[in-house]
């Protein structure tokens, strides 16, 4: 009995009873010349041929009963997947073994996985046969070409396996299958639902394949269109193998893989571009590829579409000229000239209106690129420089303010030096005369002049102090002041002057007009403007001054109109508010007054302007900032 058992075991291993694996004889394996290892359903090593042991320098007696993956920890995941597929019944799974990955063998090889079955067709383990790689290249090509879903470079994550239990009418998916369908991992479909995921004709093909598998035992290997849950169409490779028990198909096992190689051509083109410029979608600014001849957009990156607010399709195959402002179009020829001569064009800036109607300042530069087929196109970078432009403008305005202040300062320095120097030279001149003069009457005359020079100097210094005061009290808080109250105060102050000249002030300011100002400045501004109007009256007319208010967006504008001499603005316009004239002179001269007025209103963030016709009168407008 025992010998016959052995005999059977040696020559007909599949005939022995599966129930008793431990006593099952595998002596035959010691005699075969190839490199084989046998694994049970728990991935434990049952036996190995002497060649295999030599190959991997492992001794069977030491490794028997151990999990095979523990000897190849680096390959554990890949091995497990393949072993599992093999246990599911898939035949001849190939696996390229890289010697670098393991300490047990120095040679690359191909591992062939096949299910190990008992006499009844039950799978009780896996037989792994190791074949050396002889013609390395050929094999690699063969591996790549193989229809088997598991190839050397297979990305495990993309292949899902499934099983249909025909008897119980249950469909089982591994999580990857759910992923391929765009479904949550816990989703459990029925067979009918699963078939419904296929799109159009593919649905009929798969339905027929399943039926044929059940009825005729025909396996399938199909490429089919699958509609993911969100509607995205993908192409999958699905393989099904019917399994039989008692002559009847009781289940189908198979795999499904998302394959991209058969995606539509248009996507293919896009992909080529992206592959040619691997950073196309990764750079932090907009990129567009434009056909050199036609000027149509061939591709734009996501950043560009984000920047513009439009979908990519909004641009693709449209002419670039449809998107640039009209005033920019005449620069077109120049850009093409630059491209022709230099192969690129200097950055250009223009304003682009986004989908949300935001006006963006964008900067575009372009350079000619050739793709692998030698076709020329323009690669453009598009940058949003709105923030930059804003900052630039802010900086420019700051610079202009600083420049103005600087000018004021220089102006002031010259004025100070000029006015003080005038007095100093007058003093020295008069003292020299006095020193040389003996005549008493003459000496008295010089003394008188010295006193007058001293008065002038005091007057000058007083004026200078006023100018300085404007520039130092800028930081004081502005107050809400009733304009009409302030005008009344000034009217009181100039009452004498008005009476003397028979003048009249017509006040049209609404009673509730408020302006934001420093009280002292407001008083000074009003006094200066009103006294100016009286000073420069027309000698043939009684002075009339009309005060009124206009409302502008950011300013309350006080208008001071008179019927006086007027100013020839063509001649003096640039000087009227300037500090060109000395100010210690007679009352009738353009002095420091308007200069101070201008400084004061500017210190209040306002402005002043003048309109005038000689011999008819002047209108000064004082702009009080509302903020």
């Amino acid at each position: 009995m025992e010998s016959s058992y052995k005999l059977v075991g040696k020559f007909f291993p599949y005939m022995s009873t599966p129930k008793n694996n431990s006593s099952f004889s595998l002596d035959w394996i010691k005699q075969i010349p190839s490199s084989i290892v046998i694994i049970d359903t728990n991935f434990k090593i049952i036996s190995a041929s002497p060649k295999w042991q030599t190959n991997f320098q492992l001794n069977l007696s030491q490794i028997e009963g151990n999990n095979i993956t523990s000897f190849f920890p680096e390959l554990a995941t890949q091995l497990k997947t393949r072993l599992q597929y093999s246990l599911d019944g898939l035949r001849d799974i190939k696996f390229k073994y890289n010697a670098n990955d393991s300490k047990y063998s120095s040679k690359d090889s191909i591992w062939h996985f096949n299910p190990w079955k008992d006499g009844y067709g039950n799978i009780i383990g896996v037989i792994i046969k190791i074949k050396p790689i002889t013609k390395n290249q050929e094999l690699k090509i063969e591996l790549n070409k193989t229809k088997l879903i598991l190839n050397q470079k297979c990305d495990v994550a993309k292949i899902g396996s499934w099983e249909i239990d025909i008897i119980k009418n249950v469909l089982l998916w591994t999580p990857i299958v759910n992923k391929i369908h765009g479904l949550p991992v816990n989703y459990k479909p029925t067979l009918e639902e699963a078939i419904n995921f296929y799109h159009g004709e593919s649905q009929d093909v798969i339905r027929k394949a399943v039926n044929d598998a059940i009825n005729f035992g025909t396996p399938w290997n199909e490429k089919a269109q699958l509609k993911q849950k969100d509607g995205t169409l993908i192409t999958v490779n699905t393989i099904g193998r019917p399994k039989f028990k008692d002559g009847k198909c009781n289940r189908i096992i198979g795999t499904i893989q998302n394959i991209k190689s058969t995606a539509p051509t248009k996507i293919n083109n896009l992909k080529t571009v992206i592959e040619e410029y691997p950073l196309f979608e990764k750079v932090p600014f907009g990129l567009a590829i434009i056909d050199l001849n036609s000027g149509t957009f061939l591709n734009v990156n996501n950043q560009f579409s984000k920047l513009s607010g439009f979908e990519k399709e909004h641009f693709l195959q449209h002419n670039v000229m449809d998107y640039v402002p009209t005033n920019f179009k005449n620069k077109n020829a120049d850009l093409f000239k630059q491209l022709k001569e230099k192969g690129f064009f200097e950055p250009v800036k223009f304003i682009f209106s986004t989908k949300q109607k935001h006006q963006l300042n964008i900067k575009v530069s372009g350079t000619i690129v050739k793709n692998s087929l030698g076709v020329k196109s323009i690669l453009c970078t598009i940058e949003n420089i709105t923030t930059q432009t804003k900052l630039e403008n802010k900086l420019k305005s700051t610079i202009s303010v600083v420049r103005e202040r600087n000018e004021q300062l220089l102006n002031f320095a010259h004025m100070v030096s000029h006015n003080l120097k005038t007095h100093a030279t007058n003093f020295s001149l008069l003292l020299n005369f006095l020193n040389d003069e003996t005549n008493k009457i003459q000496r008295n005359k010089f003394m008188k002049m010295l006193f007058s020079a001293s008065d002038n100097l005091s007057e000058t210094i007083k004026g200078l102090r006023e100018v300085v005061a404007v520039n130092t009290s800028v930081n004081e808080e502005k107050k809400n002041i009733s304009l009409i109250d302030s005008v009344f105060v000034v009217e009181q102050n100039v009452a004498g002057l008005l009476k003397e000249t028979n003048g009249k002030i017509i006040n049209e300011i609404p009673e509730d007009t408020m302006v934001k100002a420093l009280p002292a400045y407001l008083n000074s501004i009003l006094t200066n403007c009103i006294t100016n109007s009286i000073k420069y009256r027309n000698p043939d007319k009684n002075p009339i001054i009309i005060l009124s208010i206009e409302d502008e967006k950011n300013y309350t504008v006080l208008s001071i109109e008179d019927n006086g001499l007027g100013i020839d603005l063509e001649k003096y316009g640039n000087k009227i508010f300037g500090l060109y004239k000395t100010f210690h002179r007679n009352k009738e001269s353009v002095g420091i007054g308007l200069y101070i007025t201008k400084n004061q209103i500017e210190a209040l963030n306002g402005k002043i302007s003048v309109k005038s016709t000689p011999n008819q009168g002047s209108t000064f407008k004082v702009y009080f900032n509302k903020i």
Binding site: H418, K421, S428, F433, N456, G591
Partner: protein, 134 residues
Amino acid sequence: MTKINDIAIIDDDAITVFGLRKLITMYVECNSIQSYANGKVALDGFIEKINQKQQIPEILFLDINMPIMDGWEFLEAFLKLNISTKIKINIVTSSIDPYDKKQWEFYKTKTHHLITFNLKPIDKNIITEITKVA
């Protein structure tokens, strides 16, 4: 010392005018010294003289900072007048603004008159130097 007919002072500062007058009377021999309070008054006066076929002063002392019409405005208008004789125009200023010096260099090349640029104070040596007829 060359005999000079008329000298004019165009300046708004009374003390300066007085000082210049005194210096000129002390060191320069001339028939008359006229003075004008600003460029406008001087220009009007000269135009009047031309109309009445009188002689324009041969030497001018010209201030720059004056009300109504300043020295440069006066010069601009004066150089346009039809005056065939060569007038010596002495700019007298206490200005240290480089702009004024540039203006002088500009007008100097634009005319057949002789223009000098002098900083205050003017003393005896300078007055004799700049009152030589052009």
